[in-house]
Symmetry: C2
């Protein structure tokens, strides 16, 4: 290890220790203290608008000089209105019910012992993200609301913007009597810092949340030595059953595929029941093509329209995140279940049907974090679930699955009350 690495390691270790110490303090704070801190952080974001926008202008200039694409610049850009939304989002998080201290279960035993399972913070959460500067505020606020300290690592493109946002929030927290180290932004652009976080900073990170593209999530999942809340991809299916209402199916498919094509809950594959193929397939595919969506189909589908591209095997594995959809005919519910079991990323899958028993079987048998009946896959979102906000969506089977909101950012312990009981 050379001198620079050693210096970085010392820096990251100090960040880990500071986070753990802040987490211990946060775990004992009242809901009011945390909420006051979050509101002060929001106010401080507003008061620091000039500094934040100036930092953002430097990030934008550097990105433009590198010839960065317009869509990327748009994600990076802040203005007064966007900054106000960021501050309001922090206040909305303060307004959520406190997830810590909830009694998750309570029971007693014949010997008189009473048991409570109580929600507690997780500890320290490491968040690794790319270019959206608002993630700094969102992630920091969600972690703090749930009593956790956060260590945030932003992509280098938004480094100045994220630093200015973090500085403003920390100043607000401190004014409200919350340790500023409840939210820390890694002050180095060195990629080695990410590797150190993935090792857990001497057990001072309890969970890692990557927010970004596939390559980031892949690296995190491959290297992390601490639990990860993430999804690699959202290869979401929508199955049109023989009993589907055609107009409802069209509306749901249009929304699921095209409302926003770049989100993880966007549908990527449509499966059509052979039993309603004659009536439903052409109108559905026609609708998609007319809406500007490229359709890639199996043999039955390509026969419907010369504009349909034959699907390759790879298509069933592909999360397009674009106005492209793969479409296959399947043999009823069993065929749909088989296709989904084989290709789904276990994120979100939906059925459209008027048949209750078929819907219930689909909901029970599809092994995905979110399964829907007669609703768009784009509801796969913590806000739409009523969670207030989410730090991401997870497809792991442990702890957090589906949208990760403030409740999912908690752990629990058991509190047992007795009157002198000893074990026989």
């Amino acid at each position: 290890m050379d001198g620079a690495d050693l210096e970085l390691q010392g820096l990251m270790r100090a960040i880990g220790h500071q986070a753990r110490s802040a987490a211990s303090a946060l775990a004992l704070m009242t809901p009011q203290q945390k909420d006051t801190g979050l509101r002060a952080a929001a106010q401080s974001l507003r008061a620091s608008a000039q500094a934040i926008l100036a930092a953002n202008a430097l990030d934008l200039k550097a990105a433009e000089d590198r010839g960065t694409a317009g869509s990327f610049l748009d994600r990076l850009r802040l203005d007064e209105a966007r900054l106000e939304s960021i501050a309001q989002a922090v206040e909305a998080i303060a307004d959520l019910p406190d997830p810590v201290g909830r009694i998750l279960a309570r029971w007693s035993r014949p010997n008189g012992l009473t048991f409570e399972r109580v929600a507690t913070p997780l500890g320290v959460i490491g968040v690794i993200f790319e270019s959206r500067p608002n993630v700094t505020a969102d992630a920091g606020a969600l972690c703090l609301k749930s009593g956790n300290a956060s260590i945030l690592r932003t992509g280098s493109e938004s480094f100045r913007s994220a630093s200015a946002i973090a500085d403003a929030m920390r100043a607000g927290l401190q004014q409200a009597g919350i340790p500023a180290n409840a939210i820390q932004l890694v002050p180095s652009k060195d990629r080695a810092a990410v590797g150190m976080m993935l090792q857990g900073l001497d057990q001072n990170i309890d969970v890692i949340v990557p927010r970004g593209g596939r390559s980031l999530v892949e690296r995190v999942q491959a290297e992390a030595r601490v639990p990860v809340f993430a999804h690699l991809e959202g290869l979401c299916h929508i199955y049109i059953d023989r009993s589907a209402d055609l107009e409802m199916a069209k509306a749901i498919v249009r929304n699921a595929k095209l409302r926003r094509t770049g989100v993880c809950g966007a549908a990527e594959t449509m499966l059509i029941d052979r039993a309603c193929f004659a009536t439903h397939a052409h109108p559905l595919v026609e609708m998609l093509i007319n809406e500007g969506c490229e359709v890639r189909g199996d043999r039955a589908i390509t026969a419907l329209d010369p504009r349909i591209v034959p699907a390759q095997d790879q298509d069933w594995h592909t999360e397009y995140l674009a106005a492209i959809i793969s479409v296959a005919m399947v043999d009823g519910l069993d065929g749909a279940l088989e296709h989904i079991a084989r290709y789904s990323s276990h994120h979100t899958d939906a059925i459209v049907t008027e048949d209750h028993a078929t819907a219930e079987r689909f909901l029970r048998e599809v092994d995905s974090a979110i399964v829907l009946h007669n609703a768009s896959t784009q509801f796969a979102d913590g806000g739409e679930f009523g969670f207030g906000a989410e730090i991401g969506i997870a497809t792991g089977r442990m702890h957090a699955r589906g949208p990760v909101g403030v409740e999912q950012l908690t752990s629990f312990n058991y509190r047992v009350r007795g009157t002198g009981q000893i074990r026989p």
Copy 2:
């Protein structure tokens, strides 16, 4: 990789695939099907008594030939009565409420969507254990009850006994129409098989549960690439507050330390409030010494009795698992909280006090999986919690914390029902 390793790898891969396939079938079984299978497995254990006891005799003979210690032989030994207890334990697991399909939460949104959070199996659970043959039956049954397939790896000393038990259970399952591969015992004693399990067998193991001594758990925690439900040690504290009832304190301390010294919930350190030191310290320490417990104390404690050994710094870090206790005087609740935060393994810690506010602060501020007021630390056990049985106790902060019973061996997903909702 040489030929033998390649062969083992092929074998382990096949076990992984078989487990995944059994898990898919188990996930859709009714509670009745699973319970019938478990009862058939219990009956098959009884019917196979001769074969199981013969296999056990060979394990015992081999262990004796190696000059193994008596206590180890006792753990390994089976007889008719012990085998009957094993069969009854499997039936008791069948009698538990089914943890799969529980509605963990239910709510609806203003747009009419209804949400359910429903318990689902975890998938495939790898259990790595040492010499107790009953773990084969317990672990296999707990996993199956919660809809999971299990891959069991036993220590080589109990290999024949465990194999005979697994064979009997698999035969029972098969008769009841449950895939025999719901429970698989790794048929190789090669230690490399453990390493392969820790890598997750091509994502065909979802969680690893190590059951055994510290070196096993340490290896598993260091190497596992999948989540681990475990605790490394139970360094449990018992704090005697100024408001403690002395007689209650004596009974609880005696039980917490000496009921069984080798269990993870046994107390290892007693902390005595300076404010009641004059009245409580001597009787408590005297009681322990009279009961045959070695006491290692700080300066205040050693002054009480010449038989008390001065504690070294290492003592506060030591899980004795023997009739030895370390004892310190602390400055009230704050001193106790500080000591516990520094040395506790976050497993189980207890307070004895008649003061309600002090007790509540202890329960709230001690960051351990289990915290108790006026009760023995030896209640740290799934059976005592009313979980029916446990596969182990976990000290991680994710998913399973404290006793891991059948409910903790489940995951969940979200089932969303609509009437054509699309996202605006």
